[in-house]
Symmetry: C2
Subunit: 417 residues, 2 copies
């Protein structure tokens, strides 16, 4: 029997370490010659499968594949594209099978977050629903850290380390300036509906920084918040504020939605940080600075957590091992067996329990006033940001790799999305 | 004759390496026992001198002083406070002399940018104008890199390295996402009226990133800009935009000034990045992300340039040597003697030629279309971002020092600012 090929794709928002998972998948396949013939990567995620735009990873050298481990972003391109259900869009599933057949693909490794787990789950059912045998393994990835079952999600530890460090550094800065100038520093962080990244900013409290953190899990109370800010400034001379992009007012609207209009009457979308900063200025008169780190935080491979890089690699490698052991419809998970010392291993969970479930901050990870984190949360977070894993530098800048990304020759007709 | 004391203070916006200059000053003094008795640091800059709020740096251990070299921000506090001219405010100069006399201060080391150089220059004239003998040396510091004479300013190299790296990382990210999602990434950078920091972002062009840079030195032309963005997206699938906070429209208004009103009719100040991003969205329809790094960029000691750290230390050390050699009213400067290989030494310049002069990007450092940098500029920039100098980490975060900052007992009446 000829060994089958594997399809690998990156999906959704990319991270500082998703390429480390790609590296884990490809290196694991290369370590088992004859078991899986080749890894075909989808150019731009599942789109690459649907349009038969496959990248021949065999054409990449071992050195370049190894360099993926320290290169942020998605080396093969990612996409935001969620497969509809089989009933709603049978055409796409038929196309997938057509492409899989044409390229002898028997393994489907999908590297993404919650939405992608759903796509991967649907593909894992193709054997049952459409009679095409394929083993689908979901490789977890999301800076939002909101996947269930796994103790944490690859991608999160690095953004957490970046936000903890950046919030610390900027807080030192505003502390220096506070006597005659800036008294408030607001940093807006990612995380969608979950406050995990914001919680990492709250770690600066352990460095004597007066910090107030606004979590999406806690309903925003403007009066209480302003009181807490005033209290910090009166006691410490300044305050740092970490605000999650997913923070909402009691009426359900995001803080960033302010009904702003520009000169032409167009609605203007800003971030939550300037909104919070202006709110403080108007109520309390304090001079402020604000930052929106946006992509900087999730792309910051230069400050990756070593724990995170190791785990991202490990889940990629484990995905291949699970496939070779005959598994389908599963996701490798990070299992924490001890916090002090931190010990982890890779387990796995059925995709049916992962798809479309979001994991939020537990209430007992947030202090009773809603503005800080508890020791339980600290114990959870610290191991995840532990360790540095610097990329190589050349001429003062990180030396990241760009693959050749040579296409596999097409065998089929075109397909319109 | 009893050795005199020195006064040292930090002024204006702080940087990732201004404490390395403080370290250079204090360690140089400690290396010359008997020549300068003690370094008294002003708590919050010149305010500390006026209010007789002096910090006794002799109470700090050698280990803590050495740790300043890897600690961002201003360890003694900074201020935004410019001394008026002697005619306009004789009272403050008399007070300074009173404090200097009371604490036997014969040396004045002032660590700041252009405005601070002016203050330092005025103090350096006290001997002539008020009959009090003091040697005033200005220690250069500004992320804006806009001081004259010196080849570059300590603080700039590190922010340049941070912006070059962050722009590279975020560009890799948007490149991954561009097929089905974000096509435009806009990053706003500091620099006041000078485009030096923006130029560092433009370095990503050397990594095959389609980048458009908006310099304050170049009048903003909206139509030409949008055409350039469209061109990038059509040819590369995406575009990175680096916009300097000091960028202005042809009418002289900052890009950030959009006449936005919130629900209550209050003027809303955003950054230039969201303005540029929205402009692109409205004209071309491309999905965007934007970041405003703000303090994150100038506080990012975790990614400091080794060249910058070394030079920041060296100008501090040199200030003491110049003082001991009898100089007054001078500033140590970085002198570049060769670009390839990069060789530098510390010289000095008269403060009269430094104060209140801003150095902008020369036109021949910017490409003819106004959106990129020339090889001349590259040759200037690369050596300044060269080398990594990571701080120690503990529990996943940088281990920065906080000094004891014990006050020198007061001898005088209170003084109101």
């Amino acid at each position: 029997m000829t060994a089958k090929n594997a399809f690998y794709a990156q999906s959704g928002g990319v991270t500082a370490v998703i390429n480390a998972s790609a590296c884990g998948v490809i290196e694991a396949v290369r370590r088992h010659p004859g078991r899986i013939a080749n890894v075909y990567a989808g150019r731009n995620g599942i789109i690459g499968a649907l349009t038969e735009d496959l990248i021949d990873t065999n054409q990449e050298s071992d050195v370049d594949i190894a360099a993926l481990r320290h290169t942020p972003s998605g080396a093969f391109g990612s996409c935001r594209y969620k497969l509809k259900g089989l009933d709603a869009n049978k055409r796409e599933y038929e196309r997938l099978i057509e492409v899989f057949k044409a390229h002898n693909i028997g393994y489907f490794f999908y590297n993404g977050g919650g939405d992608s787990a759903d796509t991967c789950f649907k593909v894992s059912q193709l054997s049952e629903t459409m009679g095409y045998p394929v083993q689908a393994i979901h490789v977890p990835k999301t800076v939002d850290n909101d996947l269930p079952i796994t103790d944490n999600c690859p991608g999160f530890g690095s953004v957490a380390k970046y936000i903890a460090t950046s919030t610390l550094e900027a807080s030192f800065d505003v502390h220096s300036m506070a006597k005659t100038s800036t008294k408030i520093f607001v940093i807006e962080v990612m995380g969608r509906h979950a406050g995990w990244i914001a919680a990492a900013g709250a770690l600066v409290a352990d460095h004597n920084i007066p910090v107030i953190t606004l979590f999406p899990e806690i309903k925003f109370d403007q009066d209480a918040f302003l009181k807490a800010v005033k209290n910090n400034v009166e006691n410490y001379g300044y305050s740092t504020v970490v605000v999650s992009e997913g923070c909402r007012r009691p009426n359900g609207k995001f803080l960033a939605e302010q009904g702003l209009k520009d000169a032409f009457g167009h609605a203007q979308l800003g971030g939550a940080a300037p909104v919070v900063a202006n709110m403080i200025k108007q109520a309390l008169g304090y001079k402020y600075h604000w930052a929106v780190a946006d992509y900087l935080q999730r792309a910051a491979r230069h400050l990756a957590s070593k724990t995170d890089v190791d785990q991202a690699y490990a889940v990629g490698q484990k995905a291949v091992e699970l496939a070779l052991a005959g598994h389908n419809s599963v996701m490798p998970t990070v299992v924490r067996t001890s916090s002090r010392p931190y010990i982890w291993e890779i387990g796995h969970a059925p995709l049916s329990q992962v798809a479309n479930v979001e994991k939020f901050m537990p209430r007992d990870f947030i202090t009773s006033d809603g503005y800080g984190i508890t020791n339980l949360c600290r114990e959870y977070l610290y191991p995840l940001i532990e360790g540095e894993d610097y990329p190589p530098f050349e001429r003062g800048m990180p030396k990241y790799t760009t693959l050749k990304n040579i296409a596999v020759p097409r065998k089929l007709e075109e397909f319109s999305l």
